[in-house]
């Protein structure tokens, strides 16, 4: 651990996060589409969010809301074709990553921004030992000797609480349990001491008890290493303890953005309200689970106006025709025509069952 924190300090002396006076990482009005045989799916439609050094942003949304695609666009690992970035900027330390060459882009990957994938079993290469995989970037990019790199791999494995790390160096991914594999994944993502870690649903593939351990570990490491984190999840329960701010995504847009407490206390978008209401509660024993009716929209045919309107209990005429702008509500934003009314508790539902 000692050597580790030392090298972090060395790293801090490299150009600071405040070059250009902006945020450490900023996604600005990003558009991504997938061109497939069945048409063009508009997966990301003007997403903007930012991240400052040391903070944690949770990006929340259902499957297909575009949260992982945004992360892949940031990493520059979008499968292209079919995925194409059609607009916007991704600024890291003030530099637009979408404009730099491949070599410069590659220099950012892993070393500045790294990513933890959801399913560690498929995200790890099945035919190489975990020691080899964790140390690979250290050998190839940081110029460490094979021996030193493996030594660092042991340290990293100990850092993420893998027992008997040295003995497990030569094990293959399939020889680990799900939780241990995810720890390997985390160790790998931290190997090059990035400033930003994107955790793309890091606990989805795991048992509930293991989920809590992994989230605790992530929170702990983030604090110790002062790494900024983007936590992508569809699980509201996961984010409350870890995140500073939450961005809620729907149909490739950020529909609400607020700090964690404000959002939990009083959501400013009917979709967020629906998500919060659908968290099962212990005192609701015996009652039917509350859900948001309907399904997320088909991204090749996004509904007119507010994309959430077919599922919204508060829908008004204007919602069907006009795309709601992102309203600034003082330190928080909501893309709902009636966000102010909703916050004030003055918005009446227009229906019980939404049109489907």
């Amino acid at each position: 651990m000692g050597r580790h924190s030392q090298s972090i300090v060395e790293k801090e002396s490299s150009p600071g996060p405040d070059d250009g006076g902006g945020h450490l990482l900023e996604v600005d009005d990003l558009y991504v589409e997938f061109r497939t045989g069945e048409g063009v799916a508009k997966v990301i439609n003007g997403v903007s969010y930012h991240l400052d050094a040391g903070e944690t942003l949770a990006v929340l949304g259902e499957s297909g809301s575009g949260k992982s695609v945004t992360a892949q666009a940031i990493m520059g690992i979008l499968d292209s074709p079919p995925g194409f970035v059609t607009g916007g900027r991704i600024l890291y330390q003030g530099k637009d990553l979408l404009k730099v060459g491949e070599a410069e882009r590659r220099a950012v990957r892993g070393r500045e921004i790294s990513i933890i994938f959801q399913d560690a079993l498929s995200a790890l290469n099945p035919v190489f030992t975990v020691g080899w995989q964790i140390s690979e970037a250290l050998r190839k990019r940081e110029g460490l000797s094979k021996k030193d790199a493996l030594e660092r791999a042991v340290e990293l494995m100990e850092l993420v609480n893998i027992p008997a790390a040295r003995e497990r160096l030569k094990s293959y991914p399939h020889q680990f349990s799900g939780g241990m594999r995810q720890r390997v994944m985390i160790a790998m993502a931290l190997a090059q001491q990035p400033n930003v870690v994107i955790a793309d649903e890091p606990t989805t593939a795991l048992d509930v008890t293991v989920q809590a351990q992994i989230m605790d570990l992530l929170g702990e490491l983030r604090r110790e290493m002062n790494t900024a984190m983007i936590l992508i999840t569809h699980d509201l329960g996961v984010v409350a303890d870890v995140a500073d701010r939450i961005a809620v995504m729907y149909a490739g847009r950020i529909i609400e953005h607020a700090d964690v407490h404000a959002l939990y206390r009083s959501p400013a978008h009917p979709y967020t309200l629906g998500l919060l209401n659908s968290i099962p509660r212990l005192d609701d024993k015996g009652k039917t689970l509350r859900t948001i009716p309907g399904l997320p929209p088909n991204l090749t045919k996004i509904p007119s106006g507010c994309p959430f309107h077919p599922r919204c209990r508060f829908v008004r005429d204007v919602c069907r025709s006009e795309v709601p702008p992102s309203l600034d509500l003082g330190g928080r934003q909501s893309a709902c025509h009636f966000a102010r009314e909703l916050l004030a508790g003055e918005l009446e539902p227009t229906r019980k069952e939404p049109e489907l």
Binding site: Q72, M75, I77, D79, R106, A107, V108, R109, G110, R111, S114, I115, F117, D119, S122, A123, L124, N125, P126, V127, F128, E136, A137, K140, R141, Y172, H174, M185, M188, A191, Q192
Partner: protein, 307 residues
Amino acid sequence: MFRYIIRRLLQMVLAFFGTTLLVYWLMFAASGDPIAALAGEKPLSPSVRQALIQEFHLDQPFIVQYLYYMRDLLTFDLGVNTSGRDIGQIVATAWPYTLKLAFIAFIFVVVVGITLGVIVAMKRGGVFDTVVLLLTLIVISIPVFVIGSTLALFGAKWGLWTTNVGGSGKLLAYLVPALVLGSLSLATAVRLTRSSVGENLRADYVRTAKSKGLKRSRVVGVHVLRNSLIPVITFLGIELGGLMGGAIVTEKIFNIPGIGFELAKAIGLEDGPTVVTIVSLLVIVYLLMNLLVDVLYAVLDPRIRYE
């Protein structure tokens, strides 16, 4: 792993006896009077004939004859053929030619097959990909004897290459026959590599490797290739087993005195002992290559453990 190999060796014993019994029985049923063949034009006296029948156990039931044969084979006594030549000698002379041909063909298949396969997998859907796929399809569809005869014809007509390799020691002479022999394996290897690399390029671990900031050449050359080659190497191992068993058609077209050539000759002459002996040896080679491939498979893919 050790126990697995032992078990496989025991299975091989069964397979060996099964195939040799089958071949022995086929030759037994097909050949006429071996004594008459041995005697040729010269008439035999009944007593000599009787002595020969005794010597070769021809009065015994089929299965006893087979067991006598196996006893000699397994004590490395390959015996003589119907014209009195030492079969061991025939095999020892012929096999080096076959091996030379097989290894050149194999190098063709490995180098060209894998390289082309990787290139077209990376450029999937492009013009080059389509052309290569079409060519491999054509090669797979045309029988080897057509490809062989055509190339031999071209070679003879324009004097491009020799069509009579004979006992030539020159490696160059083997190039075209090796290409003919390996053509089918080559086409299959290209297609197999292409689909395997294509599949692995879309795997999640590729994204992980990329996100470490590795160069594309390393992502493909190390991560993808190492995974993609598992099925390809398995295929190549079995092909090598087949190639080493000689190539009746190719060796005949280009007049290479290899194992396939000798086998074809022996079949034509109804030379039972030679046919059975050569086929038995080929079975052993093939079975051993198969075992080697299975062991290799476990070495290449750590997820595979034989219990």
